[in-house]
């Protein structure tokens, strides 16, 4: 559905997010699934999903496990081809992975035999034209500074903590200055304290770069904390229940935004949308 549905909560003036509403990613009538040739069945992960991502916005997608969030991001990426529907990025149909779309993975996906700087360089060295070596070094230094990892250029991933590894993952994604940054539950594998710290840092980085982000999470709190808009997705087959505008001021970690009544209200509202799904899924799992 188009973001025609706004929240049923009392309308409030937008204080943050995008000023322009230029559409960057346009998905129309997407149905996606996985084919099982042996059983001659298709598992439908997403059904008839239409969604726009606006340039410069932070779009959080929240939903229960197995609701097709990852499938959606993988379609933007070009890993998964939709069974029906179309998807365009910057007006061009998605044919496969491309340098204008970078991704941060839940399990970091760093190359363990490469140092931090070499892992980041990986994002620049495969495609042509390849930036010259000194340009690469300059950009690596810049992104490392951005994720506060200066001084760890020569470290190997196994020498770093989970949070630090994911900073490398973020630096690697940002180094090519992609049009859109896709994040697939990036903080799902780090501990709760690191998670909060990483969220705050991500907000700072995004504020600086005005980066368009599609961020997948199953934490409602995280979605409300980070997103300009939150897409609430129902269980399999995934369908959009509602697109919630998050009208909280930024930065959300500086002021007492997270303790505000509005924050709680938004969180409760999204929970009420998902509660039945979560409980239903649980009952199904028990049966």
């Amino acid at each position: 559905m188009r973001p025609a549905t706004s929240t049923q909560l009392a309308p409030q003036p937008r204080q943050s997010g995008t000023s322009s509403h230029e559409v960057l990613v346009c998905a129309e009538g997407l149905t996606a699934g996985y084919e099982n040739r042996r059983d001659k069945t298709r598992l439908i992960a997403l059904r008839n999903v239409s969604l726009d991502v606006r340039r410069g916005e932070f779009l959080a997608i929240v939903g229960p496990s197995g609701c097709g969030k990852t499938t959606f991001i993988n379609m933007i990426n070009g890993f998964v081809k939709p069974l029906e529907g179309s998807i365009t990025v910057d007006g061009k149909p998605v044919k496969g992975p491309s340098s204008d779309r970078a991704m941060v993975f839940q399990d970091y996906a760093l190359l363990p035999w490469r140092t931090v700087e070499s892992n980041i360089a990986f994002a620049m060295e495969n495609r042509r034209p390849r930036p010259p070596k000194d340009e690469q070094a300059r950009r690596i230094a810049e992104v490392l500074e951005m994720v506060s990892l200066t001084g760890f250029e020569k470290s190997y991933p196994h020498e770093l903590s989970g949070g630090m590894r994911q900073r490398v993952g973020i630096a690697r994604a940002l180094v090519t200055q992609p049009t859109i940054l896709l994040m697939d539950e990036p903080f799902g594998a780090v501990d709760a304290m690191t998670r909060e710290a990483m969220q705050a840092e991500l907000e700072k980085i995004i504020a600086k770069t005005r980066q368009t982000v599609v961020f997948i999470t199953h934490s409602i709190e995280e979605a409300v904390t980070l997103g300009d808009r939150v897409v609430v997705v129902s269980n399999r087959p995934g369908q959009i229940k509602e697109v919630v505008d998050v009208d909280l001021p930024r930065p959300r970690f500086d002021a007492e935004v997270k303790t505000s009544a509005r924050f709680a209200e938004l969180r409760e509202h999204i929970w009420s949308l998902l509660a039945r799904e979560a409980l239903g899924a649980k009952r199904e799992g028990e049966a």
């Binding site: 992975p97 779309r101 970078a102």
Partner: protein, 288 residues
């Protein structure tokens, strides 16, 4: 050793970096000067005790000396064997044969294993033969090989290759197949072509598997080497020494040859393990 681990386990923070709470992140600590030699000392004490106990037990003659010679006799058998040129040429024969056999096995097993891992159809075609050959006990081939190749070196080499090539192949195949799928996805996201994917992700990921394959190949190849020398005749190699010492009731020589074989095997396996650690330090568990 312990001190060494402590120092490398935590990444060195940039020089002069201070904690907000105060105090340096990296502090100097005192370590005993003898700490690095601790394990060596333990090993020396351990082995000396073992040999002394052996000597005492043998001197007591509780067991027939024909089956259990004194260790001093065994060592002097080794010494004399080298001095009289009995052991040296046989050791060299075995070593050379083994290394050639291992090299041939690696040259066949590594590329074929990698290809089987990468190309599904090839895997489907070859895997029944590979698994049958990998599972069949090597001794079963001896009569056939003697029939075809006769006694001697070519037969001994063949049995080494037959023993070592399959573990190498199977490990290489497993390595390619178990490449972390998220690394493959990362490769795709960041624009790696098919060739770049192999060179930059799949091969580096597989390297430790290749080495552990060679490691298993060494263990199996040693068995193959001895089978070939014991049963294949040809009158050369450490297996031949064992066989002859047995025929002559020469217990010290028998034990001496076994000791040499033990040192030979341990040296090979340990050097590969060292290489394994050097090649893939990230696979080591950092602590504990």
């Amino acid at each position: 050793m312990t001190a060494d681990l402590e120092a490398t386990a935590t990444p060195a923070p940039p020089a002069g970096q201070q904690n907000p709470g105060g105090g340096k992140v990296l502090e100097a600590m005192t370590v005993s000067r003898f700490a690095p030699f601790r394990n060596t000392v333990i090993t020396i004490v351990n082995l000396s005790t073992f040999f002394v106990l052996w000597e005492l037990l043998a001197k007591a003659q509780i067991i027939n000396p024909l089956f259990f010679p004194e260790i001093s006799d065994t060592f002097s058998a080794i010494w004399n064997g080298f001095a009289d040129g009995i052991i040296g040429p046989q050791l060299w024969h075995s070593f050379r044969n083994f290394m050639i056999g291992l090299a041939i096995s690696a040259a066949i097993g590594i590329p074929l294993g990698l290809l089987m891992g990468a190309i599904r159809t090839l895997d489907l075609i070859l895997s029944p033969y590979v698994w049958a050959m990998a599972a069949l006990p090597r001794v079963a081939f001896i009569p056939l090989l003697i029939l075809i190749l006769g006694f001697g070196q070519s037969m001994q080499l063949t049995i080494i290759v037959l023993s070592a090539v399959f573990p190498i192949m199977v490990n290489c195949m497993a390595g390619v197949k178990t490449v972390d799928p998220s690394l493959i996805r990362a490769g795709k996201v960041f624009g790696a072509s098919r060739l770049q994917m192999y060179v930059k992700i799949i091969l580096p990921f597989t390297l430790p598997f290749v080495i552990s394959g060679i490691n298993q190949g060494i263990a199996r190849g040693l068995v193959g080497m001895l089978i070939g020398e014991l049963l294949g005749g040809g009158g050369a190699g450490l297996g031949f020494l064992l066989d002859r010492a047995g025929d002559r009731f020469d217990a010290p020589m028998l034990y001496g040859t076994l000791l040499i074989l033990a040192v030979f095997s341990v040296a090979l396996v340990q050097s590969m393990r060292y290489l394994e650690r050097r090649v893939a330090p990230w696979r080591e568990v950092p602590k504990g």
